[in-house]
């Protein structure tokens, strides 16, 4: 069993009567990447602020590396790196000077800081612009500078709030790849995002937030199995003269449901990989198979489906 590095129990934050975070229970193991996902206003940032001790919880408790962030904030903050959602730097200072200030605040000795800053800038691909003022930096560069700052602290845990916000798709992908690499250093990562599909690939586990409550928690395939019923969704494109193809697909063992979003398109939900069987069934039913492809279950689908079911009273 992996070591638990971050744990919350019934963590709650109220603003007056408004419950921003409701009884959050979270356990993060060492080296995991956890995604705190949900739409804007769901309570992600509030949860993160409580984990860091930047906001006091109304009730419940937090343990970060076995420490209480409200009692022992300095020890927690020395071991946890935080990348806020709207990250700002001292624009009139250079990238290196900005990192230098953070190093001094962390009490890192001068030669050690110099070495770490160099390494962090190099790793984030910012070595060439180290002497440039941050004012001239693009959003993507700022984000990477933020990550360089985290690396400089050599934290055990990194917490990132909406790290891909405002990045173009390519920059977002690059950034997520950098996050993946942190896993190799055995750093635990907790990131929040409202772009479910964007981050699902990097997360080992995700927690889906809705109005302050973490409604679903687990790995993406697990959630897909629980919520979508089938973990596999096979997209089939085929011409058929009569309704035979749909019928044939439905008849396959292991198929849970078949949807027909367009005249020649079918979506097969299956308990296991049925691609070969589906192809065979289409041809046997006299259909002309044009394409067949298995989609990864998408978190957006899971989220949408979950709330459809909640509304229809299928759950609770």
């Amino acid at each position: 069993m992996v070591e638990v590095v971050l744990e919350t129990q019934n963590l709650t934050k109220r603003y007056g009567d408004f419950v921003a975070v409701n009884n959050l229970n979270l356990v993060l193991g060492s080296g995991q990447v956890f995604g705190l996902l949900g739409p804007n206003g769901a309570g992600k940032t509030t949860s993160i602020l409580m984990l860091l001790g930047l906001t006091e919880p109304t009730s419940g408790f937090v343990r970060v590396l076995g420490l209480d962030p409200t009692r022992n904030p300095l020890a927690v903050k020395a071991r946890v790196g935080y990348l806020p959602d709207q990250i700002g730097f001292y624009d009139e200072l250079t990238a290196r000077e900005n990192l230098g200030y953070i190093a001094r605040l962390n009490g890192i000795s001068r030669p050690e800081a110099k070495r770490r800053i160099e390494a962090a800038l190099e790793r984030m691909g910012l070595a060439e612009v180290a002497e440039k003022r941050v004012r001239t930096f693009s959003r993507g560069m700022r984000q990477r500078l933020g990550l360089a700052e985290l690396l400089l602290k050599q934290p055990r845990i990194i917490i990132m709030d909406e790290p891909t916000l405002g990045l173009d798709p390519e920059a977002a992908r690059d950034f997520l790849n950098l996050i993946r690499e942190l896993k190799n250093d055995n750093i635990t990562v907790l990131l929040s995002s409202h772009m479910l599909h964007q981050v699902q690939a990097v997360c080992d586990r995700v927690g889906l937030f809705h109005k302050g409550v973490m409604v679903l928690e687990g790995s993406v395939p697990e959630l897909a199995r629980n919520v979508l019923g089938g973990a596999y969704r096979i997209h089939v494109q085929a011409e058929s003269r009569n309704g035979d193809v749909e019928h044939a697909l439905q008849g396959l063992p292991g198929v849970l449901a078949v949807q027909r979003p367009a005249a020649s398109q079918y979506v097969v939900e299956a308990a296991h990989d049925l691609r070969a069987e589906a192809a065979q069934a289409v041809i046997q039913a006299g259909g002309r198979l044009a394409a067949l492809d298995m989609a990864e279950p998408s978190l957006d689908d899971i989220y949408t489906r979950y709330f459809q079911e909640v509304q229809h009273g299928a759950r609770n």
Binding site: L54, E56, R71
Partner: protein, 328 residues
């Protein structure tokens, strides 16, 4: 709302020194101040004023070299029409400098969105706030000390005599009083920067407070004294009571405190502020200068009040800052 829940909570013991990281903040902010354009402009303004007024003063003082024991004090207090003396300018320039140093101390960090990044480092808010205050105070001290040395240097060059021991002593205390006077306005600006998120609002509010005390407080003190201690029969006791009330109220203004402290230090023959009754002067040699220690006893209340107000303002900023949620 959030305040209510947080005050009800029993105070928990924090661990680790509240001053961790203090000097990192002081060093960073002082470096910012000393390189900022804003400070360059204000420093230039002060240097020009100092050179101008001292130049004018030495023109006047040359004739009295050798006769006046307190020649160097006069450098600061002598004006030449239409130019007022340097201390007259100081009571304007020091608040301006101090407000310029601190009006965006806290809200500036919020606006640049650096606050949450800084507070995510192992540092308490205490250290951040005190660091910002000290950076301002040290910068102010540095600038004022430089000006002070400049004036004394100019005096030595233009008058051809060195200052005496007592003169240097009095001038040192004068420098100290000026720094603490600046400390008050630093405290006002810091408080404004904690309360208002807009830096422009904070700057204007701090300036408004300053103008209020410079222009209106004296008048208000007079008006209030008339209602608090009315003169109905016109007896001397009533008149004295009214003047004393007015004076006590005026002393709530940092300007009054500073001006009185300055007069006591730079004008050695000052024996008391305000009304002097004949009985108080019995046995005193009129016009004879007091020794430095006597002058210090005279202005001690003013000096301590300047320091106390500064501490009070800082404490208020501290309480407000501790309760702010850091979301930016």
């Amino acid at each position: 709302m959030a305040l209510a829940t947080e005050t009800l909570r029993p105070a928990r013991v924090r661990e680790g020194s509240p001053w961790t990281g203090l000097w990192a903040v002081v060093a960073k902010d002082m470096a910012d101040h000393l390189t900022s354009t804003r400070m360059r402009i204000l420093e230039l303004l002060i240097v020009l004023t100092a050179v101008g007024t001292v130049f004018a003063a030495t023109e006047n003082l040359r004739d009295t070299v050798g006769q006046d024991r307190f020649l160097f004090l006069r450098l600061f207090t002598t004006g030449q029409e239409p130019l007022p003396a340097f201390i007259g300018f100081l009571s304007f320039l020091v608040p301006l400098l101090a407000i310029g140093l601190a009006f965006d101390a806290i809200n500036g960090e919020f606006n640049r969105r650096t606050m949450s990044r800084v507070l995510a480092q192992p540092i308490y808010r205490d250290a951040l706030l005190l660091g910002k205050f000290l950076a301002g105070l040290f910068t102010l001290s540095l600038v004022l000390t430089a000006i002070w040395l400049l004036i004394i240097g100019m005096g030595i060059l233009r008058l051809g005599v060195p200052p005496g021991g007592e003169e240097v002593g009095r001038l040192l205390f004068f420098l100290l009083a000026t720094i603490f006077y600046g400390g008050i306005w630093l405290g006002v600006a810091l408080l404004c920067s904690t309360v208002f998120r807009q830096t422009a609002t904070a700057a204007l509010t701090a300036l408004a407070v300053w103008l209020f005390f410079i222009i209106f407080w004296g008048m208000l003190a007079n008006l209030a004294a008339r209602t608090l201690a009315p003169v109905q029969l016109g007896t001397p006791q009533e008149i004295i009571a009214q003047v004393e009330t007015s004076q006590a109220l005026a002393r709530l203004s940092p300007n009054t405190l500073y001006v009185e402290a300055t007069i006591g230090l730079l004008n050695p023959s000052t024996r008391s502020f305000g009304l002097v009754l004949p009985t108080q002067l019995q046995g005193a040699l009129l016009g004879a200068p007091l020794p430095l220690d006597q002058s210090l006893i005279l202005i001690w209340p003013q000096l301590t009040a300047l320091i106390a107000i500064t501490i009070l303002l800082f404490a208020l900023s501290y309480v407000i800052f501790q309760r702010q949620e850091i979301r930016a």
